[in-house]
Symmetry: C2
Subunit: 205 residues, 2 copies
């Protein structure tokens, strides 16, 4: 699980690492602004998921006036995405963040918590996985995002029962470790949805 950060070359907080972002333009809303800044500043053009995370509004979150209020977004790209990064920008493991600017460390932590929660009741992993994948790859994604170990068989069973993933019928040839070919899956949907909608209470369809 990695987050894209850029290193500040000027004061304030020179040398610390920041989340990509910038000022809201007069003629755009926040969603448009978040997508624009990711594309313009760090070449992230194909987000599989983008949602408002939270607004960070502590009056003293920046060392000097003017006060700035940060509307933070959670934007996801698949493991296989390879944006062309500017020289000051790099992926960092969420579990080993560098010295972060201002309150950006707390924002990343908030995003990590939100993502782990959503993995438990939605199909949001579609936004992190490649189009086609084996359970072994998907397990790695869940382990990385949840921060603890997950059993491949359990994962396959739960996600299949909830119709979150669908077998494609194809198999992947075994890796160098040998073994049997592995079944290839895809996510059933490519938009976020709650996967366990309190099934017993759902309205009749």
């Amino acid at each position: 699980m990695a987050v894209l950060l850029w290193e500040r070359a000027l004061e304030p907080a020179i040398g610390t690492w920041s989340l990509p972002g910038g000022r809201l333009r007069d003629d755009e809303d926040l969603d448009t602004s978040a997508a624009r800044q990711l594309a313009e500043k760090v070449d992230v053009r194909e987000l599989t998921h983008l949602e408002q995370l939270s607004v960070f509004s502590d009056p003293h979150r920046l060392p000097d006036p003017p006060r700035r209020i940060a509307s933070a977004y959670l934007g996801l790209v698949p493991l296989t995405a390879e944006p062309e990064l500017p020289p000051d920008t790099r992926w960092h493991p969420v579990s080993a963040l560098p010295h972060m600017s201002f309150d950006h460390g707390g924002i990343v932590e908030h995003a990590r918590t939100r993502l782990a929660a959503k993995l438990s009741y939605t199909n949001i992993a579609f936004a992190l996985a490649p189009d086609r994948f084996t359970m072994s790859t998907l397990r790695e994604i869940y382990c990385a995002a949840l921060g603890y170990d997950v059993d491949t068989t359990n994962l396959q069973r739960v996600l299949s029962r909830r119709k979150v993933i669908t077998p494609t019928g194809a198999t992947a040839s075994p890796g160098r470790a040998g073994g049997r070919p592995a079944a290839v899956y895809r996510f059933t949907d490519s938009e976020i949805r709650v996967t366990d909608e309190f099934a017993a209470l759902r309205p009749p369809t």
Copy 2:
């Protein structure tokens, strides 16, 4: 399911109904501001739940400049709460809103959708229910908030299995309709939590 609104006595949008709110002060963050404005303006002092809902930032959401960005909150009080309302303020059924100011109708709709979703994967109904309640009362709360009919027996079964509610041991005497005394329940927790944490994937405790 009702929402607290006040009627605008002055332009812009005179005579339309608005969500309680106001300007963020220089020395407060958004959470503090939301709680303060509910207490000062509509006497809502004991929220059982308050969360950031979404930021509404369409550059043209208000008819005239200056541009204003609205950070909307979902604040809940129990059915039994009785704030002392100012004369211009009234509870309105979410299913029959009056003529709403600006984009406030869309904000209420967003809140309704969020609340219905959270009812399906969290214990958030604790914030709407009285301290002690019968399943019949709880069913009414779920029906109102979900917007469709829910079976009392199913509701009791699902919420008990997930340890969301706990029997108190007490019973309520039957109402005028007669029948047997009803078991009285309480919510197990009074903070929001995800009630079905993808059980099979949880870390060992």
